[in-house]
Amino acid sequence: MLQIKVPTVGESINEVTLAKWNKKTGDFVEMDELICELESDKATFELNAETAGILHTKCAEGDTLKIGDLLAEIDTDAKRPEGAVKPAAKPAEAKAPAAAPVNVPSNTTYASGTPAPAAQKILAEKGINPAQVVGSGKDGRITKFDALKAELKVVSNEVKSREDRVEKMTSLRKTVSKRLLAAKNETAMLTTFNEVDMKPIMDLRNQYKNKFKETHGVNLGFMSFFTKAVCVALQEFPAVNAYLNGEEIIYHNYCDVSIAVSAPKGLVVPVIRNAEALSLAEIEAEVMRLAVKARENKLSIEEMTGGTFTITNGGVFGSMLSTPIINPPQSAILGMHNIVERAVVQNGQIVIRPIMYVALSYDHRIIDGRESVGFLVKVKQCLENPTLLLTQGTDPNKLLLGI
């Protein structure tokens, strides 16, 4: 008997709700097969069987459980039931989709997929689950040659496969889908665009990145400049930093900037608190800290909630231009894109400059066109004249002259 307990799912999560049993008591589960879905107030987690055996559930759907509580037991001594065909391996786990079985025999028997003794050893050593191998032997038995070929198949998939795969949406995917659709349907969302000449920032970086790293111990990236520029613009256009709540508008006198980060289980948006009060180095350090935690799935719920504005960077994946979707209850989101050398006209001359297109999607219900466009222009100005970040966007000369 192997006990399955509620695993630690996040730093500040103490309780989870058992959303759904995907298997029931008495079912034979394969190793790594999905057995249940757990929900916290923020996200959904899937739990897979640690070993193969007969499942005995120890709690019911809807139960609230503490971390470490007993969820289920797996009887590892139980034999795989006769006649039950091992489930096709989760293709998502397969290294290459080409490994998916082809020409699956339709008349499977109790012996289908049984590896011959030599085949069993070869597959174990290759780390291939016999369920992933289509046996060519009698009644679908896996022969030694099948096992020897098993790896090659991934590389040389000569047979063109035309099969559809139906897979149930995970609860996490369902939540994401619901929220995105709601943001589309329940806001008056539109997008304004602009372009940024990245040369000044790139020059600055090239000149000082070593010194910066030496002084602050973090790399100087673009994220700190964008965050800082956004904070300057948010303070000039408070509606962009506001929430719409029924018939009220909630203004924030602080800028909590959510940063979209690609994590193993999907997109997460950790928050940089009071970004307006942080230096470039402090922002870089915070971005680094949150990104590392995101990649290790260690972000706490608290670290992912309560942002007032979001920055998303599709540029890292090569996007030229896109229209991001607002992250409710926030009212606007800035989309960064890739930096491409383009021919632009400056002072009557065609020059080559590193250009990034930027996009601001906003909720027109509370943000007027003047504000949104003004906001994006402000961001552009701050990025093209980084010293403006020091003066909260005011022309330093005017500041000097007191006008």
Partner: protein
């Protein structure tokens, strides 16, 4: 000297492990405390007992079936010293064969008692004393005959299988305590040579771990040979006056009964043998039954020290030990071998021979599994009648729904060889019909397997 692997014990588990280690490129040492390699199996077990079983069976046939075959012999008599000497010759050739295999595989053989100094150092105490360093160790020290409380084995009149293989005379009345494989095989030898044989057994059956049909059939055959069985008897003592042995036991009613014979063979099982290994120095622990405790990789509680064969859990069979020897060697080399313990056949070399693999009918009944039975008698085979070996049958148990073969049980001539077909079939999870549809040469004993498979498939054996 420093070795990658040191094997302690040169029985069928140990020497096979050593060869596989050498094949895999390990620098290998083998330690044996006796003068000859091969362990119990080659020296005082499987091989010598088969030699005597075959000799005595020839004698038995000469006296009982030759006449019918048209061979008349006058003044037939046993030359026991020659029989023992031929047996010793067989043992010597077989043991020399192991010496050759060790040389061929460049395995260093150390003669002497191997004992741990620490987990990587082993002292060999033989004619000289030396220490060898080793990265890994395989313990393959096997087992020794066990005894009962109240019984002192004097190796003269009250003997174990070892002495029974080197008798100076044919017992007039051999009392055998224990109706297991060893007792029945050695009892057969002397029953054929003319001894009166009495088997005293604690349970109510012989070969209790095998399918009930087999023990019933074997009992019948042995009774024909002159065996007498006393079941549900609890032996309390055995005393020898130098000429006669008196065995006292309680019968099934609790009444005291005595047996008197000139020899008493104690064959009540074997126990794991670890004496002299000094396991404490390495920190290796035993289980509650005195066997070396191992995990599913056959590794002991100490990393790098493995144990195989009779000294660990499982059936005490040479072929089980061999599989484990290969398994451990390959595991140490990073491979991922597997042993299907359910498919290690059990065999008894009486005549008729007995063999079985997979689930017994009793086990299937207990598990509640629905199964079909197909049975075929040897006497219906042309081959059996031609050789006058008509005792026995083959029984195949198959899943009622899937027809998968779940167990195969046989008694008859050469079934210890025939069982291999069943093991192959079951390793590949063949159905009874699969076996039934394969061509079996005619006329052979193996036809009984095909016919039993036909019977199990759908009660359609051809020749009954």
């Amino acid at each position: 000297m420093k070795y990658d692997v040191t094997v302690i014990g040169s029985g069928p588990g140990g020497y096979v492990a050593a060869i596989r280690c050498a094949q895999l490129g390990f620098k290998t040492a083998l330690i044996e405390k006796y003068n000859t390699l091969g362990g119990t199996c080659l020296n005082v077990g499987c091989i010598p007992s088969k030699a005597l079983l075959d000799s005595s069976e020839h004698f038995h046939n000469a006296g009982h079936t030759f006449k019918a075959h048209g061979i008349d012999i006058k003044e037939l008599e046993v030359n026991l010293p020659q029989m023992i000497e031929r047996k010793n010759g067989v043992v010597k050739i077989t043991c020399d064969g192991i010496d050759f295999l060790m040389k061929k595989n460049k395995i260093d053989v150390y003669k002497g008692l191997g004992s741990f100094v620490n987990k990587n150092t082993i002292k060999v105490s033989g004619e000289t004393e030396q220490q060898i360093e080793t990265d890994k160790v395989i313990i393959a020290t096997g087992s020794k005959p066990s005894t009962l409380p109240g019984l002192t084995i004097d190796k003269d009149r009250i003997i174990t299988s070892t002495e029974a293989l080197n008798m100076k005379e044919i017992p007039k009345h051999l009392i055998i305590i224990g109706g297991g494989v060893i007792g029945l095989e050695l009892g057969s030898v002397y029953a054929r040579l003319g001894s009166k044989v009495s088997v005293i057994e604690y349970t109510n059956t012989i070969i209790p771990t095998m399918d009930g049909t087999l023990s019933k059939e074997l009992q019948r055959s042995l009774r024909k040979l002159g065996f007498e069985f006393f079941f549900s008897h609890k032996v309390k003592s055995a005393k020898s006056d130098g000429k006669m042995v008196t065995v006292t036991a309680d019968n099934e009613k609790g009444e005291e009964v005595t047996f008197s014979g000139d020899y008493c063979l104690v064959s009540v099982g074997r126990k794991a043998y670890t004496a002299g290994l000094n396991l404490e120095a390495a920190g290796v622990v035993l289980d509650e039954r005195g066997r070396i405790a191992t995990n599913h990789h056959l590794e002991t509680n100490i990393q790098g020290i493995y144990a195989i064969g009779d000294v660990v859990k499982g059936a005490m069979l040479a072929h089980k030990a061999e599989e484990e020897g290969v398994f451990v060697a390959e595991t140490m080399a990073g491979q991922k071998p597997h042993i299907n313990y359910n498919l290690i056949p059990g065999v008894v070399y009486t005549w008729p021979e007995v063999a079985g693999v997979g689930a017994t009918e009793e086990e299937l009944k207990k598990s509640g599994k629905k199964y079909k039975v197909g049975s075929f008698p040897m006497r219906a085979l042309g081959r059996a009648r031609a050789s006058m070996d008509i005792d026995g049958l083959v029984k195949i148990l198959a899943d009622e729904e899937t027809d998968e073969v779940l167990g195969v049980h046989m008694i008859g001539p050469r079934v210890a060889d025939l069982i291999a077909e069943a093991v192959v079939a079951m390793e590949f999870r063949a159905s009874a019909e699969d076996i039934a549809r394969m061509s079996h040469a005619h006329p052979t004993y193996a036809e009984a397997v095909k016919e039993a498979a036909l019977a199990a498939t759908g009660n359609r054996a051809i020749h009954v």
